[in-house]
């Protein structure tokens, strides 16, 4: 395959192609009314970065409050609003759209050999819905916020808080449709827009992962929308579905909520896994070990992922036998993740490995996701869940998966495809430094939280017993380092837009279709219809 041929790209003489998707049209309107999947990806990238830093600032406030055992930096109500908005923004406005709406949007048509997604205008609509949801969430924050926690547990959210539950719910409802449209668009595109010769098993694993995530988006998100509507109706006119006094059941809300929100975890992580497959393959100059196993494990995660939601409710008085079933299914969903990890590790075997920034992030992902996944098994085991659930163990677990896993994958992917997206290289040395800083900061922030959880420190506490302080100080110190790790890429990537080295078509000697075209690509992606005659 071409990846084994050592031929330097024409980097010395390369220049940015005269015509590309970035300069074909100019002016704000040409961006706001575009239906080009690549431009929409850029719109998304800017918006999710904006929301990430708002969510990150809120995380900073949380860690500052927790520096001391007393609730002293802010009132408990304020603290409750801060962690609620942190959760809402990070999950619905950053993690869910992060990889799919940016890299997925940019790359899926190109990887399939298509000119655009199947429904380009729906794609733009999806961004507008995302922005509407995001701005409404911001308005909510300005108008006093909401303090239900991102889980909106009834009857707290329906009868007991007097904050902006309805506008937050509406924001999530709208952003949810943006996610449904993106998923729908990907599914149609993957089924209908593949170039000649691009069979299912020649598709890049990145596309497989997005296909699995898209199924979850399309099937899961409507259930969240239903749950939100029911909360709104309960809060405004008291329909009583969740009210035991009217014959309703408050646990029903949690069933509905987690029916979306557990698969949502896979919506967030699967696209990240797709990124890791591409990056590890490229920088070890080998095809992914066990392509079929990795592809099917994505689908297996998506399928099993729908049948584990009640593991969030083991101590909530659901039947002991339901607990048995959900605990068993949770064990099954852990297996495909293990399969992926080992296949990635064996992709390195007899490769020819280099350690550019995307690869460093990918290594970080593998370590942190392994820890995140294994600690998930602690929680899926019904017995140990009793002790660990609702504590900082949970907080640490899902941050290892979401931040250690997904955010690492996102940064890996952004660095990997940055030359394709912008036509310029990021500066390597400082980027590698940022990757290392992020890894250290991350572990220092979240590892102590596992110990806090085993000790029993409950989540969502503004104050805590003094013997927990040392570990919290470590965590806050780590968060500071992590903050630096996240600021660095924003600075040097922005710098590279003007001063970065010209990338050329294929700086990584990678095999994917996206590397066979110019960087940045033409608006139409391809000048002639590509024909796929080998496997990705």
């Amino acid at each position: 395959m071409s990846d084994t041929i050592v031929s330097l790209p024409d980097q010395s003489t390369a220049r940015i192609p005269k015509v590309n998707y970035l300069n074909k049209e100019n002016g704000l309107l040409s961006w706001l009314l575009t239906s080009d999947h690549k431009r929409i990806a850029i719109l998304y990238l800017i918006s999710i970065t904006f929301f990430f830093f708002i969510g990150g600032a809120l995380a900073g406030l949380i860690r500052l409050e927790l520096l001391t055992p007393q609730s002293d930096l802010m009132a408990t109500d304020t603290y409750n609003k801060v962690f609620t908005m942190h959760g809402v923004i990070m999950i619905f406005l950053f993690l869910v759209p992060s990889v799919p709406a940016t890299l997925g949007n940019f790359l899926i048509p190109i990887m399939l050999g298509a000119k655009d997604l199947a429904l380009p205008k729906i794609n733009l609509l999806s961004w507008y819905l995302y922005m509407a949801g995001g701005l409404l969430a911001l308005y909510t924050m300005m108008a006093g916020g909401v303090d239900t926690g991102w889980t909106f547990t009834t009857p707290l959210s329906t009868h007991y808080v007097n904050t902006n539950v309805l506008t937050t719910g509406l924001a999530i409802f709208i952003a949810g449709f943006s996610s449904i449209f993106t998923g729908l668009n990907f599914i149609v595109t993957i089924h209908k827009m593949r170039a000649p010769g691009m069979t299912w098993f020649r598709m890049p694993l990145f596309v497989w992962a997005h296909y699995a995530a898209s199924i979850l988006m399309v099937l899961g998100t409507p259930v969240l929308a239903i749950a939100i509507v029911l909360v709104a109706l309960e809060r405004t006119i008291g329909i009583g579905v969740f009210d035991p006094a009217k014959g309703g059941d408050p646990l029903l809300f949690q069933h509905l909520f987690w029916f979306y929100s557990h698969p949502a975890v896979y919506i967030m992580i699967l696209p990240g896994m797709g990124v890791i497959s591409e990056v590890i393959s490229t920088f070890s100059r080998k095809r992914v070990f066990g392509y079929t196993a990795v592809a099917f494990s994505s689908v297996a995660i998506a399928v099993f992922g729908f049948f584990v939601w009640a593991h969030h409710m083991f101590i909530m008085g659901i039947s002991n036998y339901a607990v048995l079933v959900f605990s068993l299914l949770t064990m099954l969903v852990a297996v495909p993740s293990a399969i992926k990890i080992f296949n990635w590790a064996f992709t390195l075997y007899k490769g020819s490995i280099t350690f550019e920034t995307p690869m460093l992030y990918a290594f970080g992902f593998m370590g942190l996701f392994t820890i995140g996944g294994m600690t998930g098994v602690f929680l899926g085991t019904s017995g140990t869940d009793i002790h660990l659930t609702e504590t900082y163990f949970i907080v640490a677990h899902f941050h290892f998966v979401m931040v250690g896993g997904m955010l690492m994958a996102f940064l890996s992917g952004i660095h990997f495809w940055w030359p394709k997206i912008t036509g310029r290289m990021y500066p390597e040395k400082i980027s590698q430094l940022a990757a290392v800083v992020t890894f250290i900061g991350f572990n220092l922030t979240f590892f102590p939280q596992f110990i806090l959880g085993v000790l029993g420190m409950p989540r969502r506490y503004a104050s805590y017993p003094p013997e927990f302080q040392i570990l919290n100080v470590f965590s806050t110190a780590g968060a500071t380092i992590l903050g630096v790790g996240y600021l660095l890429p924003v600075l040097y990537l922005t710098w590279s837009l003007k001063y970065g080295a010209i990338a050329g078509n294929n700086p990584w000697q990678a095999t994917g279709l996206e590397w066979q075209i110019q960087s940045p690509p033409l608006t139409e992606n391809f000048t002639e219809l590509p024909i796929m005659d080998h496997e990705a």
Binding site: D3, T4, T76, D147, T153, P155, L156, H159, Y160, A245, G247, L251, R285, K286, R287, F289, G290, Y291, F314, I315, M316, V323, S327, M331, L332, A334, V335, I341, A345, L348, K350, G351, S352, T354, F355, F363, G367, T370, M374, V377, F378, G380, T381, S382, G383, T384, D385, I386, H387, E390, T391, L455, G456, P458, R459, Y461, A462, P465, E467, I470
Partner: protein
């Protein structure tokens, strides 16, 4: 050492003198839970070590410098099977082991002493059978299985005692139970772990574990004068429950003697066991639970009785063993003199007034 800044010095002193890495084990289930925790931790560490070793050694062995040309390998069915079956096997061991512990934690033994706990924004109220009330604290003896019957008066709360390794959600409108047997006297953290609004982080307290002797003393010194069942009896009288639930042949409601634990035929044709949950429902939503042969005339007591009141009523009904006992309630206007002498000693349930035979 004088050149170390006072802040760092303070930090170091704190680090040396006051920090925790592992919670105390103060219940019978705690060591069993920890054994499983250690097992999963061990498996995780081995798994993580394998992944890290693979990545690091391959990175060294097959770096581009040492290994300039990659060898393409498609995969290996044998290896795929290995890393599917071994993790699956280990996960299944954890599943079975975990399920055994789970069932143990949520299946109370028959001789457990029951304490009711009501959660409300933002406090825990415990009701001992002998009528002792506690707020944000729970006193229990060692060596005696204790069952908690939990309910919330408003939102979801969760009753967590990390030193016992038990935790149970307190849910509005429904009883949940959990049990433990404390082993080591001492004072332990009690947390609300389900986010419940403004003062969630203040909904904390102490679990005080005492030797049986000390506990007996504590019970005696904390008595409120009437047992829980006696409070229920008073409520039963003041709500005029006996107007219908009397023992007369023309009574409009069924007799409640020996009703607890009995199988009741309902008007709908089904049969139901009259447990705590049923009795609570029958008081608050009587129209849904008509006993066969009676007219649906009982009004709802929703909003008229607090969760603590319902608990007292349930405890009273639990202890009604004879029609005579109900007649006593019906006939007695001033209950206090009768109850005072009998304030419950340690295993209060067995000597609650309901059991007093004529």
């Amino acid at each position: 050492m004088s050149h170390i800044s006072p802040v760092i010095w303070q930090f170091l002193v704190k680090w040396m003198t006051n920090f925790a890495l592992f919670p105390p084990e103060a219940s019978r289930i705690a060591p069993q839970m920890d054994a499983l925790l250690f097992f999963i931790t061990l498996v995780s560490l081995i798994g993580l070590t394998i992944v890290v070793l693979l990545v690091v050694s391959f990175s060294i062995l097959y770096s581009k410098k040492r290994h300039p040309v990659a060898v393409q390998i498609e995969g290996s069915t044998l290896l795929e099977a290995t890393w599917t079956i071994i993790p699956l096997g280990l996960f299944l061991v954890m599943f079975v082991w975990g399920a055994l512990i789970y069932f143990r934690v949520f299946t109370p033994p028959a001789n457990a002493m029951n304490i009711y706990v009501v959660g409300k924004q933002w406090m825990w109220k415990a009701e001992h059978p002998g009528g002792q009330h506690e707020i944000n604290s729970l006193h229990v003896p060692t060596g005696q299985p204790v069952q908690l019957t939990l309910i919330s008066q408003d939102v979801f709360h969760s009753f967590s005692i990390p030193a016992f390794r038990v935790k149970r959600e307190a849910i509005p409108g429904r009883y949940t139970t959990v049990w433990f047997e404390a082993t080591t006297p001492g004072t332990y953290h009690l947390f609300c772990t389900q986010y419940c609004g403004t003062d969630h982080s203040q909904m904390i307290g102490d679990v005080v574990v005492m030797t049986p002797g000390d506990f007996k003393q504590w019970l005696a010194s904390s008595t409120s004068g009437a047992s829980l069942a006696q409070n229920g009896e008073r409520l039963f009288a003041s709500l005029s429950c006996a107007a219908c639930h009397n023992t007369r042949p023309d009574a409009r409601g069924p007799s409640l003697a020996n009703v607890y634990g009995a199988k009741l035929p309902l008007a709908t044709g089904e049969t139901i066991t009259a447990d705590d949950a049923y009795l609570r429902e029958a008081i608050l939503n009587p129209s849904q639970h008509i006993t066969q042969g009676y007219a649906p005339i009982m009004p709802t007591y929703q909003g008229q009785v607090s969760e603590e009141g319902v608990i007292a009523l349930v405890e009273y009904i639990k202890n009604l063993n004879s029609d005579y006992r109900i007649q006593q309630t019906t006939n007695t206007t001033d209950l206090l003199p009768e109850s005072e002498g009998k304030a419950a000693p340690a295993a209060a349930q067995t000597t609650a007034p309901g059991k007093v035979k004529p």
